[in-house]
């Protein structure tokens, strides 16, 4: 499942007889680490692309790498993801090609939806990664329906949905929790509590100290997890998977972390939070924490990290190069895919535009302000 698993050769420096955590092999531990690094590098480069004016928008997941990789690593191929817009690492770990994601950011002709969606709104049925909406919380109840369907069809699949602390205020969170518990749907609610909904701190979002407590009101298991500890996240997800598989229904996992970057490329966090606060959290950078753990196991070395980083950076650079070189999608594509069959009225609009405007040099002067 991981695109970096092929690099997970057994290290000669590893303490061969030491029992590795969570029953994971050295190569799996490395795969987790490399997926976290990939997520960080991807976010970093993509935000820079936006700052350079090469893509229109970006929303990164800086600081939330453990929440993404710890959960997704526990899933199997047949499981499903109903993501929010802040899980690029999950898409990558599921095997969504880096090139495909980069094509989305540029909205080019090779993009799987030919530029129909704004950046960071990926989609991949092949990887059971649902097309992303910007609307908060809508995917939560949909994930429950998907899990109900798997149960009805007697398939052994678990559905995992991601949303944030802000998402817990949405109607669809509440109906999702209620439906899931009532129908004992095999699903996992990954509540990434990153402390902020754009500028609004979690203390203004809810009066509940521990967001996992919300599970009680629905008759569901709720667990608070250190969202910066990737193995803790992995363990909690595995346990939730087990409950789902044996028919005990859903679990709410509160993954407590911190949105270390801006909400998006349009956001300026200095308007509403202090640098000191961010620095405090960065001391618990999930990648550094895991790196230390791997170092103590004799798995991590500086040379290893440098190798992995270089390889990742090359792959990202190559994907950017390709995506940027591709043209925009053809105008015709705009009219395609609204329905399974093209309505006549829409085709008339298409003909009208293509007949009368093909020669016009229209440009995109818009700029995304948020």
């Amino acid at each position: 499942m991981s695109i970096t698993q092929d690099q997970g050769k057994m290290s000669t420096t590893a303490k061969q007889h030491q029992k590795l955590p969570e029953g994971l092999t050295e190569s799996q531990l490395k795969a987790i680490y490399e997926a976290m690094l990939l997520t960080r590098e991807y976010d970093d480069r993509c935000l820079k692309l936006q700052r350079q004016g090469r893509i229109g928008f970006y929303a990164g997941s800086f600081g939330e790498e453990a929440c993404q990789i710890g959960t997704a690593f526990a899933l199997r191929e047949q499981d499903w993801i109903f993501p929010s817009y802040r899980q690029p690492g999950v898409a990558l770990l599921r095997g969504v090609p880096l090139q495909s994601m980069m094509n989305n950011l540029f909205g080019n002709s090779a993009d799987v939806v030919e530029g129909k969606q704004m950046p960071v709104h990926y989609t991949s049925r092949e990887h059971h990664f649902l097309s992303i909406s910007s609307v908060i919380g809508t995917q939560v109840i949909q994930a429950v329906g998907c899990a109900m369907a798997a149960k009805i069809k007697k398939d052994e699949a678990v559905v995992l949905t991601y949303f944030g602390d802000g998402g817990t205020s949405s109607n669809d969170f509440h109906s999702g929790m209620n439906f899931a518990a009532t129908f004992k749907a095999p699903c996992i609610f990954a509540l990434v509590n990153n402390q902020y909904a754009i500028s609004v701190p979690v203390s203004k979002q809810t009066s509940v100290e521990c967001l996992a407590d919300k599970a009680k009101a629905y008759g569901m298991t709720g667990i608070q997890v250190d969202g910066n500890d990737v193995l803790a996240v992995y363990r909690a997800t595995k346990e939730a998977m087990q409950r789902a598989k044996v028919g005990e229904g859903p679990t709410l996992l509160e993954l407590k972390t911190y949105r270390a970057g801006p909400h998006s490329s349009s956001d300026d966090p200095t308007r509403y939070r202090s640098k000191e606060e961010t620095e405090k959290w960065l001391k618990r950078d999930p990648i550094l924490l895991f790196q230390k753990e791997l170092e103590s196991l004799g798995i991590w070395t500086e040379a290893y990290e440098a190798d992995v980083k270089a390889s990742i950076q090359n792959k990202i650079s190559e994907a950017i190069k390709v995506a940027e070189s591709l043209p925009q999608p053809p105008w015709e594509s705009l009219f395609e895919g609204v329905y399974s069959n093209d309505p006549q009225a829409l085709m008339a609009q298409k003909e009208d535009i293509l007949t009368h405007e093909s020669g016009l040099e229209l440009t995109n002067e818009g700029e995304f302000p948020l």
């Binding site: 229109g56 530029g115 109607n171 500028s199 925009q328 705009l334 229209l362 818009g366 700029e367 948020l370």
Partner: protein, 324 residues
Amino acid sequence: MAEMTLLQAINTALHEEMARDEDVVVLGEDVGVNGGVFRATEGLYQKFGAERVMDTPLSESGIIGSAIGMAVYGLKPVPEIQFADFIYPAFDQIVSELAKMRYRSGGDFTSPVVVRTPYGGGIRGGHYHSQSPEAYFCHTPGLQVVIPSNPYDAKGLLKSAIRGEDPVIFMEPKKIYRAFKQDVPQEDYVIPIGPANVVRSGTDVSVFCYGSMVQVAEKAANKASEDGYQVEIVDLRTLYPLDIQTILNSVKKTGRAIVVYEAPKTCGYGAEIAATIAENAIEYLEAPIIRVAGLDTPFPYTLEYVYMPHPARVYRAIQDVLNF
């Protein structure tokens, strides 16, 4: 007079209305400490405090539902829905509750809530940051729908909306939030809800439009004037209630009508204008009424400039009605 953008005019109106009437409160996502994601509510939190400028949990139905309750009690809430694209979770509260409160209670209860929301495309926002959902609300008896096209109108119309007795969906064309400045009086003034504004007088063709499409129409009209044709542009300003008389007067003068709006063409607001003209002034028409609108597709990202009505498309419609 002060030179300001449409966004600054909105912000000024909110400051002045909150200072004028302590019952006016603002609520929404990021409207407090952050001053709104577009900065429309900048400085209100610092000036009027957290009780009157509320950062709410992330729930549009919660924002509108609680605003209705506040209004019923006697406050004048001005909730912000961060993007019109996110208004749908609150659709039930708006359509079933806000719009019907007066009628269903025989005037016993009213909910004069002013829902501010940025709408429209041209900002590279894709599906979820670009839509123009005005027609849904115009189709809902009990709601007034207001869309300013410039800073002067924005300030005057918002003040009217806040002082009114009925709910208003106040839609702000975010593409032109900062596009240009205009002299706006510093003293208090209101622009009544209802009357349209003939922003350009002409004798050959009437173009009906609102919001950011007024500028698009202006550019097309400039081009047509090079050909010797005088285009009249009517900025509707208020979509409901509609200023039917101004529309008919214009059509009777020019005999040709074009409606420009950026929502999908089918069942868009332009259909209402076209039908109104056909019902009341068909004998004056010298050409079919043309709708220049968005396409019947979800709002796209990369190709939004093809989707959006642009001056060349409006100009072509002007030529079509002139050459019919």
